[in-house]
Subunit: 370 residues, 2 copies
Amino acid sequence: MSFAPLQNDTFLRACRRQATDYTPLWLMRQAGRYLPEYKATRTQAGSFMGLATNVDYATEVTLQPLERFPLDAAILFSDILTIPDAMGLGLSFEAGEGPRFAKVVRDEAAVAELAVPDMDKLSYVFNAVTSIRRALNGRVPLIGFSGSPWTLACYMVEGQGSSDYRLVKSLMYARPDLMHRILSVNADSVAAYLNAQIDAGAQAVMIFDSWGGVLADGCFQEFSLAYTHRVLAQLKRTGVDGTDVPRIVFTKGGGIWLPEMKDLDCEVLGLDWTAHLGKARAIVGGDVGGPGKALQGNIDPNVLFAPPEQVAAQARAVLDSFGAPHTDRSTTGPTHIFNLGHGISQFTPPEHVAALVETVHSHSRALRQR
Amino acid sequence: MSFAPLQNDTFLRACRRQATDYTPLWLMRQAGRYLPEYKATRTQAGSFMGLATNVDYATEVTLQPLERFPLDAAILFSDILTIPDAMGLGLSFEAGEGPRFAKVVRDEAAVAELAVPDMDKLSYVFNAVTSIRRALNGRVPLIGFSGSPWTLACYMVEGQGSSDYRLVKSLMYARPDLMHRILSVNADSVAAYLNAQIDAGAQAVMIFDSWGGVLADGCFQEFSLAYTHRVLAQLKRTGVDGTDVPRIVFTKGGGIWLPEMKDLDCEVLGLDWTAHLGKARAIVGGDVGGPGKALQGNIDPNVLFAPPEQVAAQARAVLDSFGAPHTDRSTTGPTHIFNLGHGISQFTPPEHVAALVETVHSHSRALRQR
C-alpha cells in the first residue's frame, strides 16, 4: 500500500516533540453535526451507523472540516463503540438519544462469552482509513482511534451512556475479577483494532479514555491506566509509510493523574480544560533535549459559543498558558498540539471555529518570533 | 438562644485539626431517598419543597439517619437552590426530574434585577436549623450549608441541571461582566444566608461548589474560587454557643486545584473520590503542630452498591490512604473527616451504609492503636 507524500507534517512533528513553525491544531469531533454539510450527508446515509459503515460517506465527512478550515490533521470518522458492536452486543443509535446496546455484560455468563472480535467484522473501518488516506492525498496526516478498554466497558455494562456509572461501578466493586476479564478482552481488542488501522494507513493513533475520569483514585490506576498500558505495549510502532506512528492518550478528567500518566509508553497526552498546560508541561517533561511527552488540548469547547473576539482571546490564553514553544530544530523539546478539551458541540457556529483556527495559527507563529 | 451541651464533639474536633479517638463521619445527602422512612415523610409532605419548607418535616428527616446509624454530625435538610428561589426565580421540582426555575437569568436586564434577597423569605430554613438543634439535644453537631456562588449561577442561568453548561458558560465567556455581577450578588447572598444559619444554631457551615469542577483552569479561579473567598471573608466566626464555627468548602472535581484551594480562609476542604487523601494531606499541610486544613471525604458513593465485605474493604482503603492519624491531644495536626465523595445515591441499600459506618469507626480506632 502506498500513499502520496505528506505535505503538512506539522502535527506529526509536534507529536515527536520536534520544533514547528506554528502550533498545529485539530478538533475532537471536527467532522460532525455543527457542520451543515455533515448533516446533509447524514440525511443521505439515513443513520449514524449508515454513515460510519459506508466507506464513501465516512471519507466524505472526514474531509468536510478540512475544506472549511486549515486544520493540521484529519481524524477517521467513526464511533468509539464499533468494537463492542463487533463483539455482538448490537449497537444502535436512537434518534435524539445516544448509543444503545441490545445486549449488556453484567454477569459471569455474559463475561465468559466475551472474546476479541474477528477484525473482519470491522473491515468497514479499515477500508475507510485507506479510502480517507487516498482522498487526503498527502494534505495532512490521518489519525486513527479507539475508545479505551475502560470506556468501552462502561458502555458494555451500562448498555448506554450513564450519569452515575452505577452499574459498571457496582460490577467493578463487587466482582473485580469479572471487570478485569472484560478489560483484558477489551485491551487486546483495542490493540488489534488500532494495529489494523495502522496497517490500513493511519499515521497516528489516539486512545479516548472518555470515562476514565469518573473512577476513584486507585481504581483509575487499576481499571483504566493498567489496560491503556496493555494496549500501548501491543501497538505497532511503524506505519505503512515506514515511519513511526505517534500514540496519543486522552483521559477526560485525568489531569489529577498526570504524574502517573506521564509514564505511559506513548508520545502525546491529551488534556481537558481543567488542566493548566504550563503546569502539565512541567510534569510531563518540559526541557529542550530532555525526555518528555507532547501535550494536546485543551480549550473548553463552550468558548466557541462566545463571539469571535472572545474566542480569539481565549485561544491566545491557552497558547500562552503552555509557555514559550521550543524552536530548536536540532533537538526535541516541549511541544503543544492545540485542540479542544473534549468534542465540539453540535450547536457550535462554524464561523467561530474559523476564528479559533486562524488565531491559533497566527498567534502561535507570533509567539515563536518573541 | 441556648441549646443542650454537645455530647459528641468528634466531628468539630477533627474540623479544628484536634486529635480524636476515631475518624468521625457523616454522609453527604444522608437524609434522603435511600431511606424508606424519608420516602414516607416525603409522601406525607406532598413534595420536596413541602418537606424542605416545613420545620417539623425538615427536622424529622434530618434526624432519621441518626436513628439508624451512629453518625457524627447532622446536616440541615434543605436544598442548595433556596437562595435563587428567594430571589424570585420560582423553584419547582417536577416528579422524576431535577429542580427547575420558572425565570432564568441570561441577559443584562435579568442580571440588573438581581439583588441579595430579603432573608425573611428564607426564615423557614433558619427556623428549621433552630428546630433541629433542639431536637438533636446535643447528640451531635449540626452543619448548615449553601451552594457556592458559581453553582447557584449555573442553575440561575441554565434554569435546571445541565450536561454541558452551555448556557452559563456562553454567558461567562461572552459577557464576563454580567457573570461577575451575578456572582457578586450570589456571594453576598450566600454569606448572609450562612450567617443567619449560624445565628439560628448551626455549629459548622459547608459551601457546596458542586459544579466548580466543570470550569476551565483560569475560569475556576476567576468565577468560582474568588467568590468562595468573598463568602468566607464575610462569615461569622462564632456561633450562638460562643464557640468557633468551622467552615468546609467542597468543590466536586476540584482536586486538581487543591494547591490553590489550600489558601482559602476555611478549616476543612472536601474532596471527591478522584483525589488521593495522602497526597492531598501533603498539599494542604500535613504536619503535627504546623498549619493546615482538615480533609473531608472521599469514598465513591457507588462503593455502597457492592456487598458489605467489599464496602468495608474500600472504607479501610480510604482511611489507610489518609495515613496515620494525628493523636497528640496537646497540639493540632492532620485530621480526616470521613464522608462520601458526593451525595449518596437513592438506590443505596441502607444495610450497606451500616457496614460503612461500623467499619469507619472500628478501623479508624484500630489505626490509632498501631
